[in-house]
C-alpha cells in the first residue's frame, strides 16, 4: 500500500518558534522505525519534564479473535501480527500449544531435528530483521545520512552487502518457512514439508559467504561514533545454559529472578496508560525493564560461539553492553551468531543418516484441554504467549506480550535522559540524537508500520 505523506521530510518539517523562553520543535514524521506512534518531549527551563511514547495505531485485537479458532491455527494467525518477525510469533505459539498437547513417544531423532530446524528458521528471521535495522534504518544515523538511499550513493558496496545478507535471511525463511513473509510451513508439532537436499545445499553455500560478511558488518559498525550513555538496566531475556537462546530457556532478570514462562504473569504486569494504545509492561509493580539483543547478550554471553566472543572483543565490547547506542554492535554480533548457528545446524542435519528432506516432519500430538505458556526470543526481545484450549482443541483464551510493549517504559525513560544530556544542543542536533536514540530499540510498534511523530516542546 502506498500511503499519503509517508515520506514527508522529517527534520525539514521542524518548526522553531522563539517567544520568551518557549521553544517548540516538531518533526512531523520520523521514518526508519517500525510502528505508528509519536514521541512528545516536554522541556521546561532546560529541564526535561516528560517523555511520552504515544502509540496511536489502533489495537489489533488478535487476542480477542483467537478464541473459537482451532489450536492448529494459532501459528498462522499470530504470524500475521508482524511482517518482520512472524517466525517469532509462530514459534511462541507452537511451543505453547505443544506444552498442552500430550506427546506420543517419538524417535529422539525426530524431536532433535525439529528443535534444530526451528532454531535454523529463527536464525533466518534474526538475520533479515537485524540486517534491515542495521543497514537500512540505523546506520544512516551514525554516518549522517537521511536514509539508506543517501548512504548507498557514497557507500554502494556496503549497502549491497547489507542487501545480500538480508536476502540470505529471507531465503532461509522461504526455504524452511515456505515463503518470506508470513511463512506457512510451521505447524504445531513440526513442519508441513521440509526443503529438498538441493535447496539446503544451495543455502549452505550462501551461509558460508554470509558468515564472512557478518564479520565485516561488525567491523563496520564498531567504528561508528557512539554517544556516551551507559545505563543500569534490568535486563530480561531467556537463558539457556547450553546455547544462545532462541526457542527455549528460563526467563531471567539481571536482579536474579529465574522463572519458567508459566510464571511470567506472577512477576510481569501490563498496564494501560492514557497516552498510548499499547499496554505498558512492568517488572513487579512499577519497575522498567529492557528486553532485546543487549539483554540476551548480558545473560548468555557465555553461550556465544568462540568466533562471536572474539568479534565482540575486537569490536570493543565487554561481556555486557550497557550503552543502547551500541546496540547496533550487539545486533551485528547476533547476526554472526545466527550465521554460525545456521551453518552448524544445516551441516549437521545434512550429514545425518536420518532422512528428512522433502517431506513432512512432525510430532504425533494428541490434543487435550489445558493451558500452555511459551516464551521465545524475537529479534527485538522476549515474546511471551499463553493459550487455553478445550478438549477439542478450541482456543478459549489467548494472551500475547510482545517485546516493544515491554520496552516502552525504558524507551521513554532513556529518551528523557538522552534529551537532558543533550539539552544545550541546538534544535536540529537534539532532534537528530533523539531520532537515533529511538532507533536504538528497533521499536516495532504495531508490530509493524512506519510512522513516528516526534514533538519536542521547550517551555
Amino acid at each position: 500500500m502506498q500511503l499519503v505523506n509517508r515520506f514527508l521530510e522529517k527534520v525539514n518539517n521542524m518548526s522553531h518558534q522563539s517567544k520568551n523562553n518557549t521553544r517548540e520543535i516538531k518533526v512531523d514524521y520520523l521514518a526508519r522505525v517500525e510502528g505508528e506512534g509519536a514521541l512528545r518531549l516536554l522541556i521546561e527551563q532546560d529541564q526535561v519534564k516528560q517523555a511520552q511514547l504515544r502509540i496511536f495505531e489502533p489495537p489489533r485485537f488478535f487476542e480477542s479473535f483467537m478464541p473459537g479458532r482451532d489450536y492448529k491455527e494459532a501459528p498462522d494467525i499470530t504470524a500475521r501480527i508482524c511482517g518482520i518477525c512472524p517466525v517469532a510469533y509462530q514459534m511462541s505459539a507452537v511451543h505453547a500449544m505443544e506444552q498442552i498437547c500430550s506427546n506420543v513417544e517419538q524417535a529422539p531423532e525426530t524431536k532433535s531435528l525439529i528443535r534444530d530446524l526451528r532454531r535454523l528458521l529463527y536464525c533466518g528471521e534474526w538475520i533479515e530483521s537485524h540486517i534491515l535495522h542495521i543497514y537500512m534504518l540505523h546506520a544512516p544515523d551514525f554516518l549522517g545520512y537521511d536514509d539508506a538511499i543517501a548512504l548507498a550513493k557514497d557507500h554502494k558496496n556496503i549497502v549491497q552487502r547489507g542487501l545480500r545478507l538480508k536476502k540470505i535471511g529471507n531465503e532461509m525463511i522461504r526455504c524452511f518457512g515456505g515463503r518470506e513473509i508470513h511463512p506457512i510451513n510451521v505447524k504445531v508439532g513440526g513442519f508441513y514439508k521440509l526443503p529438498t537436499e538441493e535447496a539446503c545445499s544451495a543455502l549452505l553455500e550462501q551461509l558460508n559467504w554470509g558468515r564472512q560478511a557478518a564479520l565485516e558488518t561488525i567491523e563496520w559498525v564498531s567504528a561508528f561514533y557512539f554517544e556516551d550513555f551507559e545505563q543500569d538496566y534490568e535486563f530480561v531475556s531467556l537463558y539457556h545454559g547450553n546455547v544462545y537462546p532462541l526457542n527455549e530457556g528460563v526467563i531471567k532478570t539481571r536482579s536474579g529472578l529465574s522463572i519458567k514462562p508459566n510464571a511470567f504473569e506472577q512477576h510481569f504486569f501490563e498496564k494501560h496508560e492514557a497516552h498510548t494504545n499499547a499496554l505498558h509492561a512492568t517488572f513487579g509493580e512499577d519497575q522498567n525493564y529492557f528486553v532485546g539483543p543487549m539483554a540476551r547478550y548480558f545473560h548468555n554471553y557465555a553461550q556465544l560461539p568462540r568466533a562471536c566472543k572474539q568479534a565482540a572483543s575486537d569490536a570493543g565490547l565487554n561481556q555486557a553492553c550497557y550503552n543502547p547506542f551500541k546496540s547496533i554492535i550487539v545486533r551485528a554480533i547476533e547476526v554472526l551468531f545466527a550465521f554460525e548457528e545456521a551453518q552448524r545446524i544445516l551441516e549437521d542435519c545434512m550429514q545425518s543418516s536420518f532422512s528428512w528432506c522433502d517431506r513432512e516432519i512432525a510430532l504425533d500430538l494428541t490434543v487435550q484441554a489445558g493451558i500452555g505458556y511459551a516464551a521465545t526470543e524475537a529479534p527485538r526481545g522476549l515474546l511471551w504467549h499463553r493459550y487455553e484450549i478445550d478438549e477439542q482443541g478450541v482456543i478459549l483464551s489467548a494472551k500475547i506480550v510482545p517485546p516493544t510493549s515491554q520496552n516502552q517504559r525504558i524507551i521513554e525513560s532513556d529518551i528523557g535522559k538522552v534529551a537532558q544530556q543533550n539539552v544545550m544542543k541546538n534544535d536540529q542536533d537534539l532532534t537528530h540524537i533523539l531520532e537515533q536514540a529511538i532507533r536504538n530499540y528497533d521499536p516495532c510498534i504495531s508490530c509493524a508500520t512506519h510512522f513516528l511523530n516526534l514533538e519536542v516542546v521547550r517551555l
Binding site: M1, Q2, R6, F7, L8, I149
Partner: protein, 156 residues
C-alpha cells in the same frame, strides 16, 4: 523477446491492500504464460527480479483521496521516479519508493519499470477488498495487459 514480469504487492488480510495481489492473480488466470509474482510485502526482494527481467510492472494499492476508488494510475519509475509524495509511503517493510530509489542508486533498475497504483478506499485489518475496488479489478487487469503488450512490442 524481452522478459516481462508482473508483480502484485500487498496484504490480502488488510482490505484494499490486497488489490495488487487480486489483480495479478486474475492476470495469471487469463494469461498463464505470463511470468507473475505475488509479494506479501517485503519489496526488498524486488531487486532480485530487477536483475532477471527486462520489463517489470508492479501492481499495488495506493491512497489518493482526489481519485475514485478502483481507478488505476501508471507511473514510469525508470524514467521519472516517485516524485509525487502521495505515492511514496508504504505499509510494507520497505516501501516501493525505497526499493526503487535504492536500486537506481546502485544501478540495478531493469530496462523498463512501471508501477500501476490502484486507488484504494479502506485498509482495515481482517477485511477483504471493498466492493467499489473489487468491481474495477477487471478494468485494471485489461489496462495492465494492454500496457504489457505495448511494452513488449516496443522492445521487440
Amino acid at each position: 523477446m524481452s522478459k516481462l514480469l508482473i508483480v502484485g504487492i500487498g496484504n490480502d488480510f488488510r482490505g484494499d491492500d490486497g488489490v495488487g495481489l487480486a489483480v495479478v492473480s486474475k492476470i495469471s488466470q487469463i494469461k498463464p504464460d505470463l511470468s507473475v509474482h505475488l509479494s506479501g510485502g517485503d519489496v526488498s526482494s524486488l531487486m532480485d527480479w530487477f536483475s532477471i527481467y527486462d520489463i517489470i510492472i508492479l501492481v499495488d494499492a495506493m491512497i489518493q483521496p482526489s481519485s475514485k476508488a478502483g481507478t488505476a494510475q501508471i507511473f514510469d519509475l525508470k524514467h521519472h521516479g516517485l516524485v509525487d509524495k502521495s505515492v511514496r509511503g508504504s505499509t510494507h517493510i520497505m516501501s516501493i519508493y525505497e526499493a526503487v530509489e535504492l536500486a537506481r542508486v546502485l544501478g540495478a533498475l531493469p530496462d523498463q519499470l512501471f508501477l500501476v497504483g490502484v486507488v484504494a478506499e479502506a485498509f482495515n485489518l481482517g477485511e477483504s477488498i471493498s466492493d467499489c475496488v473489487r468491481e474495477k479489478i477487471d478494468t485494471v487487469v485489461e489496462q495492465i495487459l494492454k500496457l504489457s503488450d505495448d511494452l513488449v512490442n516496443q522492445s521487440a
